[in-house]
C-alpha cells in the first residue's frame, strides 16, 4: 500500500455557541485506508466530516485534502469526494434517474455516461424498475441505496459514509461491505462513521475513536485490543468513553417499568 497522504488535519477546533465540539484534533489519513470513525453521540464525528466537506467554515486549524488547504483552494477538490449524509437528505420529488443525473452533472459528468452507469448500478442493487420512480415513494433501504449510488457515481477517491448501512437488508449489507473492501484495495480511501461496532470492527483497517472532541484512540483493531485488554470493539468503546454502568442502568430501567422503588 502506498503511503500517499489523502487527508491531513492539524489542530482542528470548532465550537458552537460557546460549546467546544472539536478540541485540537490531529489526523493523517493515507490512501487505501478504511477508517472506522466512531464515538458517542455528540462527540464531533459528523462535525469533522462537515468541515472536511466545506459545510462549516468557522473552524480553527488546518484541513488539507489531497495535499492542499481547503480554505484557499476553492471547491474543485470536492470533485474527488463522495458523501452519504447522516440524515439521508435527498430531493425526493425527483425520480431516481433525475436525482442521479443532477448530482452526476454537478460533479461534471456527461448525461449519457451517468445514465449508462446508473442503469447498470440499479440493476445490481435490484432496483432496475425504480429508474423513473419518484424517490418519495421509495422504502428506506431503497433511498439508502440511491444515496450510496449518488455518492459513488463519479468514482471519487475519498469517500465519507455516515451510517451507510441504515435501513439496508442483510444481503445488501454484505454487498456494500465487500464493495468497500474492493474500493480500498484499489486505493480509494473510506471514512466510515457508524454506531454499529461489529461492522466497524470487521471492515476497518484503522479505527479512530472520538470522545468529547478529542481523539482518544487511533490504530488498528488489534492495536486497540492490545492496549485496552478488552475483547470486542464494543467493550473497548465502553471502556475508553468511560462508560461502565450499562448493567446498572438496564436494571434500573426494568425496575422503573415494574414500578419498583429505585435502588439507586
Amino acid at each position: 500500500m502506498s503511503q500517499e497522504k489523502v487527508l491531513q488535519i492539524t489542530d482542528l477546533s470548532i465550537s458552537f455557541t460557546g460549546k467546544v465540539v472539536l478540541d485540537k484534533i490531529n489526523l493523517e489519513v493515507y490512501r487505501g485506508q478504511i477508517i472506522g470513525y466512531i464515538g458517542p453521540n455528540g462527540a464531533g464525528k459528523s462535525t469533522t466530516v462537515k468541515i472536511i466537506l466545506g459545510l462549516l467554515d468557522r473552524y480553527r486549524g488546518k484541513v488539507e485534502v489531497f495535499g492542499e488547504d481547503i480554505r484557499n483552494k476553492g471547491n474543485a477538490y470536492k470533485k474527488r469526494i463522495g458523501y452519504v449524509p447522516e440524515n439521508g437528505e435527498i430531493y425526493d420529488d425527483l425520480t431516481a434517474f433525475e436525482y442521479i443525473s443532477f448530482t452526476g452533472q454537478m460533479y461534471g459528468m456527461e448525461p449519457e455516461d451517468i445514465k449508462n452507469k446508473l442503469i447498470r448500478l440499479l440493476e445490481k442493487f435490484d432496483m432496475a424498475e425504480s429508474l423513473h420512480k419518484r424517490v418519495s415513494t421509495f422504502s428506506k433501504g431503497m433511498k439508502q441505496k440511491l444515496l450510496i449510488i449518488s455518492s459513488l457515481i463519479h468514482d471519487p477517491d475519498l469517500i465519507f459514509f455516515d451510517e451507510p448501512l441504515s435501513g439496508l437488508d442483510a444481503n445488501s449489507v454484505m454487498i456494500i461491505k465487500e464493495m468497500m473492501t474492493i474500493l480500498a484495495a484499489e486505493g480509494k480511501t473510506i471514512f466510515y462513521s457508524s454506531h454499529i461496532m461489529d461492522v466497524v470492527e470487521k471492515i476497518s483497517n484503522r479505527i479512530i475513536l472520538l470522545a468529547d472532541g478529542n481523539v482518544v484512540a487511533d490504530g488498528t483493531f488489534d492495536q486497540l485490543k492490545e492496549k485496552n485488554k478488552e475483547g470486542t470493539l464494543e467493550q473497548i468503546f465502553n471502556q475508553l468513553t468511560g462508560f461502565d454502568q450499562h448493567e446498572q442502568i438496564a436494571a434500573d430501567i426494568v425496575a422503573a417499568l415494574h414500578g419498583d422503588e429505585s435502588n439507586e
Binding site: N75, K79, I90
Partner: protein, 540 residues
C-alpha cells in the same frame, strides 16, 4: 428537463453571470432541477407508479390565475383621478402586502430547504454560484407572480395614463419586487438570528393564515371604504411618512409625472431609488451569515416548558366519560392546536367565520338611522357554516402514518376516538368563537341575544355530529394523508351548507312564536343527546 422557457431566456444573460464569476453551467443545472421540483411540489404522495402531470392545471398555475384575479382590484385606483401620491400609495401598499405575504407563505419552503446544504454544498461548485442560483430562482418565481398579479392593471393603467406613466410604473414594479425579495430574506435572517427553526416555521404558518384572512377581509373593507374616499384628498405631511415604503414609490409618480417638487416628495422618490439598492447590498453582505443560521433549521429546538393548564385538565375531565376518552380528548386538542397543515387549512375559515358576522352588521348599516340589530344574531350562523370544513379536515394529518397506534391499543369502545376528537373541536374551537361573538353581540344589541346564542351553540353541536356522519363516518381521526384532502365530496359539502341555511331559517321561524325559542332549546338538547348516542355509541 432542459426545456424551461425561463432557462432559455436566462441563457441570453449567461455572459452577465460569468462576469459575476458564477459557474453558469452549474447554476443552470441547479435551476433546471429546482424548477422541476417546483412543478411537483404540491401533490407529493398522489403519484405512485403512474406519473401524471397536468401542466395546464398545476396548482401553481391555478394560484397565478387567482393572483391575476386579485390584481383586478387595483384597477380603480389606477384609473380614477390623478392624485398619484394617494392612489399609488394604496396601489403599492396592496402590491407589497400581496407579494410579501405570498413570498413568505408559498416560497419559504424553497428558500429554507435545508437539504440544499447537504446536497449542493458537498458538490464542486462555489458558494457564490449556489447563492446566485437561489436568488435567480426566487426572482423567477417573483416575476411569474408579479406578472400574473400586475399584467392587466399595468396595461389598463398605461392605456389610461400614458407612456410616461407606463415606463415609470414598470421600473417601480421591478424595484418594489426586488425590495420585497430582499426584505423577505432579511426578515428570515432576523428571525433565524434570534429564534430557532421551529419558531420560524410557526411564524411562517401564522403569516400564511394571516394572508388568507387578510386578503378577504381587506377587500371587504376596501370595497366599503370606496364610498367615503374623496379623490381630491390632500396629504398633510408628517415625518413618519418617510417610514412608509408605499409612499416612497408613489412619491416618484407625483414628482416625475405631476411635477410636484416639494422637498418631501423628492425625498420619497430618492428613497424609492436608493433603499432597494442599499438593501440588496446589505443582503449580499449578509448572505453568509444567513446560510450559517439556516443550520438552525436542522437543529433540535429547545424543549418547551410544559405549561400547567389546570383549567384544560378540568375541561378534559368533565367533557369525557372515561380515562381513555379523556386521553384522546387531550391528544386531539394538541393536534388541533399544533399541527401546522391543519391550522393552515382550517384557521383561515375560523378567522373568517369570526369576522364575517361583524362585517355583515356594519355593511348593513344605513347612514343616519339608528341601527336595528333584532335579527343580527342570524349572522352568527357563519360560525356554524365553517363546521363542515373543520370536521372534514379532522380526517387528515401530515403524520397520518402514526395512526397505527389506534389499532394496537386495547380499546373496546372504538367510537371514543372520534367522539373525543369532535368534542375537542367543539370545546376548544367552536365554543370560544361562538362565545366571543355572543358576548360582543350581547353588548351591542342587548342581552336578549343570549338565548339565541344558546340555540346557535346547540345547533352547532348537532350539526357537527351530522357532518361527521355525512363527511367522515370512519373510525380514526388524523389517519389520512393531507394530499388527498382536496377531494372533499363537494355534493356533501353543498348539502351541509344547505342544512345550515335551513337551520338558520328554522331558528328565525321558531322565535316568531312566543316562548317558542325556549321550547326549541329543550328539543335541541334532547335531539343532541339522542343523535350523539346513535351515531357514536359507547360500546362496553
Amino acid at each position: 428537463m432542459n426545456d424551461f422557457i425561463t432557462l432559455k431566456i436566462l441563457d441570453r444573460f449567461a455572459g452577465l453571470f460569468r462576469l459575476l464569476s458564477v459557474d453558469y453551467r452549474a447554476m443552470r443545472l441547479i435551476l433546471s432541477f429546482k424548477l422541476t421540483m417546483d412543478k411537483r411540489r404540491v401533490p407529493t404522495i398522489m403519484q405512485g407508479d403512474k406519473q401524471k402531470e397536468n401542466p395546464m392545471l398545476s396548482a401553481f398555475v391555478k394560484s397565478l390565475l387567482l393572483y391575476a384575479f386579485y390584481g383586478l382590484f387595483l384597477i380603480p385606483f389606477l384609473v380614477i383621478g390623478d392624485n398619484y401620491l394617494f392612489q399609488m400609495s394604496i396601489v403599492f401598499a396592496i402590491i407589497m402586502f400581496i407579494l410579501m405575504t405570498s413570498m413568505i407563505s408559498d416560497f419559504s419552503a424553497v428558500l429554507l430547504d435545508v437539504r440544499d446544504k447537504a446536497i449542493l454544498d458537498t458538490k464542486p461548485v462555489t458558494a457564490r454560484t449556489i447563492s446566485v442560483a437561489k436568488f435567480v430562482h426566487v426572482v423567477i418565481y417573483m416575476t411569474q407572480l408579479t406578472g400574473a398579479f400586475l399584467l392587466i392593471p399595468f396595461l389598463i393603467g398605461s392605456a389610461v395614463n400614458g407612456v410616461r406613466f407606463s415606463i415609470l410604473f414598470f421600473f417601480t414594479i421591478i424595484f418594489v419586487s426586488l425590495f420585497i425579495i430582499v426584505l423577505t430574506a432579511l426578515f428570515y435572517m432576523f428571525i433565524l438570528r434570534f429564534f430557532d427553526g421551529e419558531r420560524l416555521r410557526d411564524i411562517i404558518n401564522y403569516i400564511q393564515i394571516f394572508l388568507s384572512v387578510g386578503i378577504i377581509v381587506g377587500y371587504q373593507v376596501l370595497v366599503r371604504t370606496f364610498e367615503f374616499v374623496d379623490y381630491s384628498f390632500t396629504l398633510d405631511f408628517y415625518w413618519w411618512h418617510y417610514l412608509l415604503p408605499p409612499m416612497w414609490f408613489s412619491g416618484s409618480f407625483e414628482w416625475l409625472l405631476l411635477g410636484n417638487s416639494e422637498t418631501y416628495i423628492v425625498i420619497f422618490s430618492l428613497l424609492a431609488l436608493f433603499i432597494p439598492i442599499f438593501s440588496i447590498v446589505l443582503y449580499i453582505y449578509l448572505v453568509p451569515t444567513f446560510e450559517r443560521n439556516l443550520q438552525k433549521l436542522l437543529a433540535n429546538s429547545k424543549a418547551k416548558k410544559p405549561k400547567r393548564a389546570r383549567v384544560q385538565q378540568w375541561i378534559a375531565r368533565i367533557a369525557t366519560a372515561s380515562v381513555e376518552e379523556e386521553s384522546m380528548f387531550r391528544f386531539a386538542s394538541k393536534m388541533l392546536r399544533n399541527e401546522r397543515d391543519f391550522k393552515l387549512k382550517v384557521y383561515p375559515s375560523l378567522g373568517l367565520s369570526l369576522v364575517f358576522p361583524f362585517i355583515m352588521i356594519f355593511s348593513m348599516r344605513v347612514p343616519d338611522q339608528t341601527p336595528n340589530y333584532t335579527y343580527s344574531y342570524l349572522f352568527a350562523y357563519f360560525v356554524v357554516l365553517m363546521i363542515p370544513t373543520v370536521v372534514h379536515m379532522l380526517k387528515y394529518s401530515n403524520k397520518y402514518k402514526g395512526a397505527w397506534l389506534y389499532r394496537i391499543l386495547p380499546v373496546q369502545d372504538q367510537m371514543l376516538f372520534y367522539r373525543a376528537t369532535l368534542k375537542a373541536f367543539l370545546i376548544q374551537i367552536f365554543l370560544p368563537i361562538t362565545l366571543l361573538i355572543g358576548v360582543i353581540f350581547s353588548v351591542i344589541a342587548g342581552f336578549d341575544q343570549v338565548i339565541h346564542f344558546i340555540v346557535i351553540t346547540l345547533t352547532g353541536w348537532l350539526f357537527t355530529i351530522v357532518c361527521y356522519r355525512l363527511l367522515n363516518n370512519q373510525r380514526y381521526p388524523f389517519a389520512s394523508n393531507f394530499s388527498f384532502a382536496q377531494s372533499a365530496n363537494s355534493a356533501y359539502m353543498f348539502l351541509t351548507m344547505f342544512l345550515v341555511g335551513f337551520l338558520a331559517f328554522l331558528h328565525f321561524l321558531i322565535q316568531l312564536i312566543p316562548y317558542g325559542i325556549y321550547g326549541f332549546v329543550i328539543i335541541l338538547i334532547v335531539i343532541n343527546i339522542f343523535t350523539w348516542k346513535k351515531i357514536l355509541p359507547k360500546k362496553v
